[in-house]
Symmetry: C2
Subunit: 460 residues, 2 copies
Amino acid sequence: MLSDKIITTLQEIVGEEHFSLTEADRSLHAKDQSSHAARMPDAVIWPETTQQVSAILRHANEHKIPIVGWGAGSSLEGNSIPLKGGIVVDFVRMNQILTVYAEDFQVTVQPGIFYKDMNKMLAQHGLFFAPDPGANASIGGMIANNAAGTRTPKYGATRDNVLALEVVLANGDIIRTGSRSIKQSAGYDLTHLFTGSEGTLGLITEATLKLAPIPEHFSAAIASFQTTEAAAEAVFHIMGSGLNPAALELLDTATVEVMNQEDNMDLVPAPTLFLEFHGASDATLEVELDLVQAICEESGSQTFKAGIGRESRNRLWQARHHLGEVLFRMFPDHDYLITDVSVPISQYPVLVAFALEALSKLDDAPAFIFGHAGDGNLHSSVYYPLDDEAALTKVQEGFNDRVIEQAIALGGTCTGEHGVGIGKQKYMVREHGEKAIAVMRQVKAMFDPNGILNPGKVVG
Amino acid sequence: MLSDKIITTLQEIVGEEHFSLTEADRSLHAKDQSSHAARMPDAVIWPETTQQVSAILRHANEHKIPIVGWGAGSSLEGNSIPLKGGIVVDFVRMNQILTVYAEDFQVTVQPGIFYKDMNKMLAQHGLFFAPDPGANASIGGMIANNAAGTRTPKYGATRDNVLALEVVLANGDIIRTGSRSIKQSAGYDLTHLFTGSEGTLGLITEATLKLAPIPEHFSAAIASFQTTEAAAEAVFHIMGSGLNPAALELLDTATVEVMNQEDNMDLVPAPTLFLEFHGASDATLEVELDLVQAICEESGSQTFKAGIGRESRNRLWQARHHLGEVLFRMFPDHDYLITDVSVPISQYPVLVAFALEALSKLDDAPAFIFGHAGDGNLHSSVYYPLDDEAALTKVQEGFNDRVIEQAIALGGTCTGEHGVGIGKQKYMVREHGEKAIAVMRQVKAMFDPNGILNPGKVVG
């Protein structure tokens, strides 16, 4: 697809060693962590500067070559799969912290930095970037997908923590959006338009992020329940009480059993809530934990374990964070489908009950329910035999479609944090209505008239 | 400007009694609370339903008639002045609370409801909408301008508290954006694109807002300093300590003296900080107040008064909130210019020192400095004799322009919460760069190809 002349130009832009046509490099950029089919790009390019990204896009736009930004490849909805081939722009060489504004709790970074690596470096300033999708995602990818994770109830999703961006548009123009001021009312909010646009409106080449002080005091607790519904009911009452947990995770029995088996977690094998609070003092945290315990007991908790130390707490979160990988390894002959719906918190118990009922109709498909419950976000991972189209259809139609429709009917969304990518496009009209989708398509056409930016995603 | 046929059609849409051509009604919709020149619309219309708004816009779009949305008329940058005449759409008859989702801390309202009235009604649910611009603004206006106020450090600006919108586009199409889910990653963030767009991209006809529980415990404190610079320095250290005040306001001596005189406040006549904390328990609040007091003393505070009861605290905020009106009445033969810049908190002392220095060059112009300091937001009100062009130029060029340029140079913005309106347009390129402004213009042209929506605002 790429002519020799185009190849030569791209090589001149970044240097030959930062451009590849090899099958090895291309296949490393053909697939994310979802089960969506791989598609190899025609080339991979590793820019080192915004100017190079600008030159790449200008050239690609002239020749109508698809361009897909690439961070860690850890997306879960096919977001970074180069559906139409073309060039994958891998930002791994643009992975620097540019400026730490420690006094303002802010940092300016390049998009290729992975958030866990960034947070390690920020720790010396006593600060961290709160959104944590689990996998070691890149900041550019997190912004592009509006990633979230376990700490959203207190700290917000990525969208809530982006102040300013540098973006290269399809035609190569470089723009800056937002500012370092927390308060901003100066014109259209382009920063949040690019956040969550999955690389379809422009490529992010720099970002200024809000940070939070690393909490000096935290408390963690584990509550187990007789039923998943009861655990979900407790979530609703905890959030409705005005408590502000840093994290509030739900896990069903099957998930807990996996964590016990794979990570020696010694958890009660029952539906479980993980809770964490960040506070100014241990005294406050104790008050909050007492309240949470009372709420859990009213909702029928069977065990409630507080006073979890730093090490156990870290192990807990580590196990939670690599749950996806663990499950993936456990079913080598299977593919899987992950649900990522979110609803208003009052509807969370309804949603969980519905999902359990729908799961029960899938016969013996291995299935796991867990979620960032404090946000009303529910995930489920359902496994089906590789290349078994009938089984996939059953999971897709009998479970995923039904749960998504239910979530939308409950005032929620088809995707809380994984983004639209490939898999969620078919629900977009259902969620937003035809006219809103028409507006999104107009926005897309305005920013990317030649349709080169991550074609086939979000609104097609 | 409006033909008989158009008038008849508009009257048919809303009923004759909800349409006016009288000079009295038109002049009531000719001016906001800024000093920008009044401009009468050709007509005022009071729709009662989204369908009527849609019909009005469709008709106006066909005939290229300017349309300006109207809430309370309390904007401060000319945002709602119908610069090109046309029709003002006053939302006062669309002022209902549609649904209170008490368990989700959410409410769906029509745009014409005033936020203070709404909060009175929400109090029975123990909830409130946190952004508080002071004047009794309408929710539609607050969203259109991304209004903020005193409680932003803890609760965020309006933008941070809008979940979903119903918007009527220029062509009359009705769209819905967002959802009631706290987490949303389903496509382009149109909700935040409309928020702060000042009625130039569409008219908001319904909004779902995030609410907060009315805090059971609060503490308030007043600290006075020898200099305004020292007070600003304390602000920086308070915010940098990781404390999370609900409000942190700065007032210079002149402002404090006005409050003493007009509201019998009995404050120490010196540069002052007002602080308020909302917490889960009095114990936490005490810890926070002790820390704040220590920080203030290190920054050279002269007095520190804590333990302020509910009544005194309410009086304090009331006096702070009607400061604008009070000042306005004090200088009947004057007009005024309000500055509304915001910077990263580390730069706040620099900005304040710069503003004081610039003010000192204005000779004896009555001037007041105050601001939502916890957000890095600085206001100043400078008074000049009515119709004295030379004095206005001096204030504009010698003070406002310089402070704004300084704020932008410090990584901040020309407007933290008043919006662009008329007065801030000339700084937009300086703040965002020409290419970002070109994108904003494209966005405007896409949503409003005939340029009927609040023409002459934001990006012209």
